[in-house]
Each structure stands twice: as C-alpha cells, then as structure tokens.
C-alpha cells in the first residue's frame, strides 16, 4: 500500500537534519519545521510476497507545510493525489477527480491526523507509539530512523518503517504485516518557495 503517502504528507519537517554529532531525536525535532516546501522526484518499488517482479512507479512530489501534499505519479500510468487535512483528491489519467472530505470520513482523517502528529516529530507521541531506533553513520552524514509500532492501529498494519536521510529524506522502506515491502527513493530535492503555478497544483 502507499502508506508512504501519508508519511510523506506528514514528513516535511524531517527532510532536514543537522550534520553535527550523533543525531538525536531532539535534533531532528528542532529542524523539523524549518523548510516549508520540499520537492523531490521519487521512484517506488512495491514488492508483493510471492510475485516475481515489483510494481515500479516514478513521479514527483511537493510537500508544503501550508498546502499539503501533491503527489504526481508519471509512470506506469498518470495518477495525481492531493492531500491536506481537509480533503484528499485522486485523479487517474483523464478520469474525473475523486474527492473525499474530512467531514465525510472522519475516521480516516483521524487516522491521518494521528500519523501526522507522529511524524511532525511530536516526540511524546512518537515514543508513545513506536519503538525507536535512531542511528547515524560514522561520519554522521547519514541517519536512519527505524519505527516499530507498539500499539494498534499502527501495529496491525506495519512491521516497521525505516527512514534514511542525510540533509534530506532519501528513502522510506515500509515492511507491512502482509509481508509486502515498499521502497521509495527520493532524489533531486529542492526547497525553494512555491511558485504561483505550483500553488495552483494544490487547488
């Protein structure tokens, strides 16, 4: 599943971390909201247990603290997902947009909000819900954060979620309870403010 979309939505703040000494969760937190906009290209491989080839897709995305997530899959077929705390919109090819609003599916958005709170580096929530393993490489250029859910609902869905980054978030690996695995790699990060045209992407 593309739970990573949720993760990405709530991950803007984790895109930047310090390059100092051994990284702590506090340091991650401190850096979390410095950059209001991040763009990146992505490749995703979805490995389904028992199937020979992964499902491969590519595209680009923008995360804005103010506007939400804009996720555009370009291959193997065009799909655009826009998401904020009020609504989610999916467009496939030339088909009409499909929209779900928070007031129509409060349970869903409650769940999103839970994850958002977690990945917005609410340390208390993070430690309450996950067993955490934060480490960095010898030269502190890269860090890895492993999240192992401790309680429902997350532990019904995920075995673990692994985030790897340096200055930016570089990779998300999701190991889920169906023994499927999703690997998303981000490249070509940019952090300039949104252009006027880009703002309209979130409409």
């Amino acid at each position: 599943m593309k739970n990573f979309l949720i993760l990405c939505f709530i991950l803007p703040s984790i895109f930047f971390v310090s390059n100092g000494q051994a990284i702590t969760l506090d340091e991650l937190q401190q850096k979390f909201s410095q950059y209001p906009v991040t763009r990146a290209n992505f490749t995703q491989d979805r490995y389904i247990q028992g199937m020979n080839k992964p499902l491969h897709s590519t595209g680009r995305m923008i995360i804005s603290q103010h506007h939400g997530l804009w996720w555009q899959q370009l291959t193997p077929f065009a799909l655009t997902l826009k998401m904020n705390d009020q609504r989610m919109q999916q467009i496939i090819g030339q088909q009409p947009p499909q929209i779900i609003r928070a007031d129509e599916q409060p349970q869903l958005f409650q769940f999103n909000t839970l994850l958002a709170a977690i990945f917005n580096a609410d340390k208390i929530t993070l430690e309450k819900n996950f067993q955490l393993n934060l480490s960095d490489s010898d030269n502190a250029q890269k860090w890895q954060l492993i999240l192992i859910p401790k309680m429902a609902p997350l532990n019904k869905i995920f075995h673990k979620i692994t985030l790897i980054g340096d200055q930016y978030l570089l990779q998300i690996t999701i190991d889920d309870k169906q023994n499927d695995k999703t690997l998303i790699v981000f490249t070509d990060h940019q952090t300039l403010p949104l252009t006027e045209n880009e703002k309209h992407l979130f409409d």
Binding site: M1, R46, I48, G50, L55, P76, I92, E104, I157, K177
Partner: protein, 189 residues
C-alpha cells in the same frame, strides 16, 4: 459513491478485519444461469504481466491494478488499488484456488471473476473448449477472441494487439455482453 474512499478506507479496514484465506471452487459463471469449471492452470511458458484495468459498468468507471505470474501449473493474480493497496491475492495451483481477500470493494468484479476473465484471455482455447457447455465455442480470430453460446451469440469479446501465436497474448479489452461490463486493459510493463 466515491471510489477513493474505499482505497483510503483500507487503513480503517485493516484495523477491523484480518485477511481471509479460503479455498474457493475452480468454477465461474458465464451467464446468470451457466456455470463451468475453470481449467487447471498449465503453462508451457512463463507469463508475467502488470496491468491497469479500468472497469466500465452502468456508466461508471473503476480502476484496479493486477499483477499476474503464471508458470507450469501455477497462476497467481494480485489485485491492488490504484494507490497500490493490496485488495486480494489468488493462487491457483493444480486444482486448488486459494484466495486472500484483503479488502472487498463492491464496485469491482469479484476476485474470482477477475481470475476467470484473465484465464479466458491467456489460456489456449484448447484448455477451455472441453469445459464449455454443449454448443458453446471459444474462437480466436486475428486480434480477437470470442466466447459464443449455443445460439451463436457473443458472450465475451476479448481484444489483443497481436494475432494468435505460440506466445501468450496480452489482452487490451474484455467485454462481457451478458454481465454488461467492459474492461480496458493497459499493460504497465
């Protein structure tokens, strides 16, 4: 009904139900009153495909991703939402079909119906013909395969890009005249 909410509701659904692993009968409905056994899978070549299926039914469209692996006596089909959420997995090995239904979406054909349509599309007609009712025919004509009933009416029409050959053809469109749905198929490979 907003299809997207089903995709998104997976997060909730997964909390409420565990996966259902159950064997199902290797049979399929051709019309409301005609049921036949599915052929046991037997492939003399390796077949793999990833497809975007777009169902048209009653003026509405719903999309689904399928992953298909076939080799020797085994056929596996995985259905995913367009966001990559796993909906079902079917393993057909020998004479046993095992279905793992992760999320049920009423707007989409059942997993077993999808399996049936895939098997009608990729298996040689020789494997189907002995199982069809008396007077029914499965015919390959150029870039088309037709299932015709005893009254010479087309029940299912399958389109391909290639004419028949020794290689398994990948379908591009399936139209079921009795059940009234159509599937446009885009290969994702």
């Amino acid at each position: 009904m907003k299809r997207i909410q089903y995709w998104l509701m997976c997060f909730i659904t997964l909390l409420l139900c565990s996966c259902a692993n159950k064997p199902i009968s290797p049979e399929t409905w051709l019309t409301k009153g005609v049921k036949v056994n599915l052929p046991a899978p037997h492939f003399d070549q390796v077949y793999h495909d990833q497809q975007l299926l777009t169902f048209s039914y009653n003026g509405q469209q719903h999309s689904l991703i399928t992953m298909i692996d076939a080799q020797n006596d085994a056929l596996s089909v995985v259905g995913l939402s367009t966001l990559g959420i796993r909906l079902f997995k079917i393993d057909y090995y020998g004479k046993v079909i095992t279905t793992e239904q992760n999320i049920f979406i009423k707007e989409l054909p059942s997993a077993s119906q999808i399996l049936s349509d895939i098997m009608f599309s990729i298996l040689p007609i020789e494997q189907w013909q002995p199982l069809l009712p008396k007077g029914w025919q499965l015919i390959d004509t150029n870039e088309q395969r037709l299932l015709i009933n005893e009254q010479q009416q087309t029940v299912i029409e399958i389109k391909y890009r290639q004419p028949p050959s020794s290689q398994i053809r990948k379908p591009t469109n399936i139209k079921h005249y009795i059940f009234g749905y159509q599937i446009a198929i885009s290969s994702m490979e």
